[in-house]
Symmetry: C2
Subunit: 241 residues, 2 copies
């Protein structure tokens, strides 16, 4: 890293719904992509019925599907949970030869005054290993996601793969509102596959970080959201994420 | 109440800092009142060094001081924690003869689809009894507020007092971010005293409620916020509030 780079904060995060509601099965309603795009060009989310994984890269939202394929999401596509920002990195650093925990520790080390802020994180480069999952759409609409996602998801392992990883680090006190800690999605450089990062080993690449100290949370305007059980299940979220 | 009134949502809450940071002693820095006013004309908060209680009524912010007196806060006044909105009630209802728990239950009963949303609440009328507290400014700047506030606060009891109560009801999952449940401040009609509501019995008056499904949280841009311990102390917040 360059020590001379200032650790400035920038921008804001916009989040639609909260992760506890999504995990409780509030997957039927959501924000249309064309509206979400007003709040960011960078981020991640999920689709109706938790069908696949969303990654928003440079203003384009991709639907990464259970069968391993990818399509560019339509403007009318509805997202029951999403977290986005207009990404303007204030720290950019070359990284090489790092397992996931080392990568995360490295990010903490180069943002020492940001532990109570949000971080938007982007990595572009080559992974020696990348393990990601893709959620399978619900058979029972509105059923609890937390209980089923790890049982029905597809896990894909790739080696020596080039791509982009995008996501956020949230302070622990937001668990249940967001995913506490790191929440990262991956897309292959040729845009043929990708998903929700479970584990990885970075070979080499560039990481950008944006320190963010504002989060705007919009709650769904739907009957089923009103019924959701938002009681925090920390263990369940950690397991599912 | 009038059953014909629609339970529409409106507006957004703007919150500066999070209650866990304030309770941990992040009381030195804050948002100037003139900036806070851009985000609301209704709400509550605290002052530098936790010195007194703030209530924002119809666009005027009052500093309710430990000695029981009140002044209109200056535009440059700095608030380390505040929660405000532009208040537009969507439910208005006459209430009479209610203890605090009955009043809260009544609010839940007339907003049955809003349990997972925020409520902005205003009551204007006469209290048979009102018990409120006013925080004493810190002797040790930046010291933990949660451990000291209930020991140093002044508690005032009044009977047959007319005034206004203003505040918010937050869903339980936001504990630590906001104050979960009801957080209400009181000001006497003649603006001579007021504070943070501890207990009350309503004689009669009018309650307005605004159902809010967006909250924008801005975190302080200060070194001491970065050092704050934001680990949730649910018992401590409940005791302090």
């Amino acid at each position: 890293m360059s020590d001379s780079q200032p650790l400035e904060t920038s921008s804001r995060i916009y989040q639609y719904s909260i992760i506890s509601a999504f995990m409780d099965g509030q997957t039927l309603h959501g924000i249309p992509l064309k509206d979400l795009g007003k709040h960011g060009d960078f981020g991640l989310g999920s689709f109706q019925l938790a069908d696949g994984e969303m990654i928003l890269v440079d203003g384009t939202a991709y639907r990464m599907s259970y069968d391993g394929s990818i399509t560019v999401a339509e403007p009318s596509t509805c997202l029951p949970y999403a977290m986005v920002t207009f990404y303007t990195p204030t720290v950019t650093v070359a990284v090489a030869g790092m397992l996931k925990p080392n990568f995360q520790k490295h990010i903490e080390d180069i943002t020492p005054t940001a532990k109570n802020y949000f971080l938007a994180i982007r990595f572009d480069g080559v992974f020696k290993k990348m393990r990601f999952r893709i959620a399978k759409g619900q058979d029972v609409p509105g059923a609890n996601v937390m209980k089923t996602i790890t049982k029905t998801q597809r896990v894909i392992d790739m080696e020596d793969v080039e791509g982009t990883m995008i996501g956020f680090r949230s302070p622990g006190c937001y668990q249940g509102i967001t995913v506490a800690g790191y929440h990262l999605h991956f897309i292959k450089k040729d845009r043929t596959t990708g998903g929700h990062c479970l584990d990885f080993e970075i070979q080499k690449g560039i990481t950008g970080i944006s320190i963010i100290r504002q989060i705007d949370i919009e709650l769904p305007d739907s009957d089923d959201f009103c019924e959701a059980d938002l009681t925090l299940d920390n263990e369940g979220i950690v397991k599912a994420e």
